[in-house]
Amino acid sequence: MAMTETPMQAERAETIYEKSKPGRRAAVLPAAEVPEPPLVELIPAELLRDEPPRLPEIAEPEIVRHYNRLSRRNFDLDSGFYPLGSCTMKHNPRLNERVAALPGHARLHPAQDPKRAQGALELMWLLQESLSEICGLPHVSLQPSAGSHGELAGLLLTRAYHADRGETRTKVLAPDTSHGTNPASVTMAGYEVVKVATNERGGVEMDDLRAKIDEDPGQVACLMLTNPNTLGLFDENIAEIAALIHEAGGTLYYDGANLNAVMGHSRPGDMGFDIVHVNLHKSFSQPHGGGGPGAGPIAVSERIEPFLPRPQVVRRDNNGHGPSFDLDLDRPKSIGRLRGFQGNFGVFVRSYAYILSLGGDGLAEASETAVLNANYLKARLAEGRAAKRLPVAFDRHCMHEFVLSGKPMKRELGLATLDLAKRLLDFGFHPPTVYFPLLVEEALMIEPTETETKESLDGFAEAIEAILVEAEDDPEVAKQAPYTTPVRRLDEVKATRKPVVRQPL
């Protein structure tokens, strides 16, 4: 393996502060146009700042170069295959960016009088209606800012629902395969997490579930499930699970991160879920932005509706005078606000544009192709060396993603899942999600999404094969990987032991 530096490796990372030079500037401000007394005549000296913050001093051309150069140090969805399990890295249509940028959307003040923001409120209402139909639940709140925010909302709704019935419950059940945000949300909502085991089919272990409920049914507030779950498998027992939880008086929460598997094919509401969050930045094509923004609207059943966050977008019929749209604040049982204003509207515009583009049929086709692509890639990886070295964790048809175990690879070749992931970088692929879900040893979680071509899937399978062949010959190659990335393996321990989290100036 060539160890010579690539051109990009050769240029040392310099922050914009290091490129700053006193006296330079990009912005030219408008003239004051008004009297310019010294500030101390307007604000008491002791409330004024002595020195301005040490922001960079640099002219526009170099700012643009700096961030353009930085951008090239990112791998992105428009660069290549990005099979990051659980993240639904599907194509981000530019049309959505275009419509979100229309001044009527982008420059609309959130406090605008509803009667002067009818277009925006109607769009939100239309999106609510669409998500309601897709989830099979009658009511939607768009307020949560992301999935984890939706989870917290769901748990606070559960608490309010029970409180309204004079109950206080303390336990929230979640399978050991659940995503980290689930237990974290449970704690923030003041509940205690009770783990439920997974059966040999990758679903909820029913006996364990019954046991955990029977311990004290009156304490069971909620069961949080992802279905298909984080193994990419649909839990066939979902109807029975729902019955058990409802019997115990708990709510059933659907983590919608995997909704991309079932759009137009099966609906959480029909499965018996009371509360669902939808990650618009996954199933509905909002770009991930390197870590957001997203949005996590929630859809709920009738019994949960009274407690939905405030404000709620509503449609008024004005007896025949044509409908109008409003923000309803008068919701006495509401859990209240979860954030400022009405939610991540810009994300709503993009996702609604996506829904309009594909339509009901297109959404169903998207899920169908997502499932087809996942099963095809799974089949490709059941050929050749991967079959033995990287066996699938649960050998059945998957939905939109699947999980492999690197355990044999590690045992037989001394190659950890991490090494495989890093070596994939040299082949121009983004690695799958690694070491999650926790119950699979050396897990690799692979979600191709529907927008990838067969050629990309084949190329990925061939890369895995090539790496395994290479490793049989010399595992060190992968263990030292990557070689061609802007930087090579980074010392994450150091970053946590003695954290340097800002530029010293």
Binding site: A26, E33, V34, L39, L42, I43, L47, P52, P53, L55, P56, I58, L70, D76, S79, H91, L102, P103, H105, A106, L108, P110, A111, G119, S130, I134, S145, S148, L152, T181, A184, S185, L233, F234, A239, H265, D270, H281, H288, G289, G290, G291, G292, P293, R339, G340, Q342, N344, G346, L356, S357, G359, N375, M399, E450, T451, P486, D491, T496, V501
Partner: protein, 456 residues
């Protein structure tokens, strides 16, 4: 095959063969028959890109945005000019489309940008530690409360009524989950009632929450107010407007343990309320209790400088139920926009912008105070927003102004019944002297008309 998928009939046939099934339905068979949707979704069919554009343009047309109205509304989000380079850079695929940087070797662009952003927010707030951003302002306040509980093992919050109503409401919502108590302290002369505050703070208090400038635009005496918190070992949490920090004393120099706020004024458009971001800075002691992503500097195996997500052991994906917060996807792209805007303003420009806001605001405040039927709601010093009282129903006056193309401000009545006909007026660098003069004229006319009961 949709416009975004590529599987041709031939592809499908080959793929199904490789899988060993005859149809995709077989793959969906794992979903019990009874749970499979036996009808198409009740949604319209897909339409062409041009049609989607027309449809959404038509909706957008029905909003009165800040391009059609002269906007004096603030209340936490402001009509600042976002420089063109912000869009040009944040719209690059390399920043727009990646996931959270879990693979640092191929995410140096995003990670370094986070590191630069953290540095900027640390500079603005005068606190050493910043995260890479949270959802938005109000939920960041609730997140600070969660940190304060962990730091103090207490569960009582004392909150100034000067804190943004959305922040107070959000804190109340979260506190139900936290099992915490929230105590509110009133205002006096537009600023937090100092006596009431120190009376309210006790040994059970986890944190004291202030906002400066507060919701009425008044610059608070944070240091004095914070004394009570220090005395009882409670954390001092200060919400602030980043655009004022070029001229106002940073919270970090006034004893704040945590400084946070709504980041929208920095490089983010109004977007009817989001997406924007919340910033969150703290003292060194709190670094391991911080919520959200934090980028940190390190080296690669060859000694090259690089950046990674630091202190991940705080986070939900590692620590699960013991995490310092549940946040995962946040607002990275919005924080990048803020960083670019700040770099564009630069050290000098940022200060000059602050001064411009203070001076135009002073001018506007004086101008409006001189209008018949308008008086100042408080006399406290202000930076970029101020409150007035109208001698007429605020909503009706606002309607009259809107008819003349001016969004005159934010009505206080709903959230502050005590200021029934109060109006909050915000200034940005986009609001020219001419527009301010026009506001005075239009507002005066509207108030007069209302008082004379002229039909609108």
């Amino acid at each position: 095959m949709s416009r975004y998928t590529s599987a041709t009939p031939e592809d499908r046939a080959e793929m199904l063969a490789a899988i060993g099934v005859d149809s995709v339905e077989e793959l969906f068979a794992q979903i019990p028959e009874s749970l499979r949707l036996d009808r198409p979704l009740a949604l319209p069919g897909g339409i062409s890109e041009a049609e989607v554009f027309e449809r959404l343009a038509a909706l957008a047309e029905r909003n009165e945005d800040a391009e059609r109205q002269v906007c004096f509304v603030g209340a936490g989000m402001y009509d600042h000019y976002v420089p063109a380079i912000v869009d040009a850079i944040t719209q690059r695929s390399e920043f727009l489309t990646p996931y959270t940087p879990y693979q640092p070797e191929i995410s140096q662009g995003g990670l370094q940008a986070m590191f630069e952003f953290q540095t900027a927010m640390s500079e603005l707030t005068g606190l050493p530690v910043s995260n890479a951003g949270l959802y938005e302002g109000p939920s960041s306040v609730a997140s600070a409360a969660y940190l304060a509980m962990a730091a103090t093992k207490r569960s009582r919050f004392v909150v100034s009524r000067g804190l943004h109503p959305h922040s107070r409401e959000t804190l109340a919502t979260y506190s139900v989950g936290y099992g915490a108590e929230v105590v509110e302290v009133g205002l006096d002369g537009g600023v937090t009632d100092a006596a009431a505050l120190s009376a309210a703070v006790d040994g059970e208090t986890a944190a004291v929450f202030l906002q400066s400038p507060n919701f009425l635009g008044a610059v608070e005496r944070v240091e004095e107010l914070g004394a009570a918190a220090k005395e009882h070992g409670a954390l001092l949490v200060v919400a602030c407007d980043p655009m004022t920090l070029g001229v106002l004393k940073p919270p970090g120099e006034q004893g704040a343990d945590i400084a946070l706020g709504e980041g929208q004024p920095l490089g983010n458009r109004l977007d009817f309320g989001g997406p924007s971001f919340g910033f969150f800075c703290a003292t060194e002691e709190q670094i391991r209790r911080m919520p959200g992503r934090i980028a940190g500097e390190t080296d690669d195996v060859d000694g090259r400088r690089g950046f990674v997500l630091a202190l991940q052991t705080r986070e939900q994906h590692i620590r699960r139920e013991k995490a310092t917060h549940n946040i995962c996807t946040a607002q990275a792209l919005n924080a990048l926009g803020a960083m670019i805007h700040l770099a564009w303003l630069g050290r000098q420009g940022f200060r000059e912008l602050g001064e411009l806001l203070v001076r135009r605001t002073a001018y506007a405040r004086e101008r409006l105070a001189a209008v018949e039927g308008v008086e100042l709601l408080h006399e406290a010093p202000v930076a970029r927003e101020f409150a007035i009282r109208l001698d007429a129903p605020a909503d009706r006056v606002l309607d009259r102004c809107a008819e003349r193309g001016i969004a005159a401000g934010y009505p206080l009545g709903r959230e502050y019944p005590e200021f029934g006909d109060g109006l909050l007026v915000a200034i940005t660098e986009r609001r020219t002297r001419a527009q301010i003069d026009e506001l005075a004229e239009v507002l005066g006319a509207a108030v007069a008309a209302e008082r004379q009961g002229v039909a609108a």
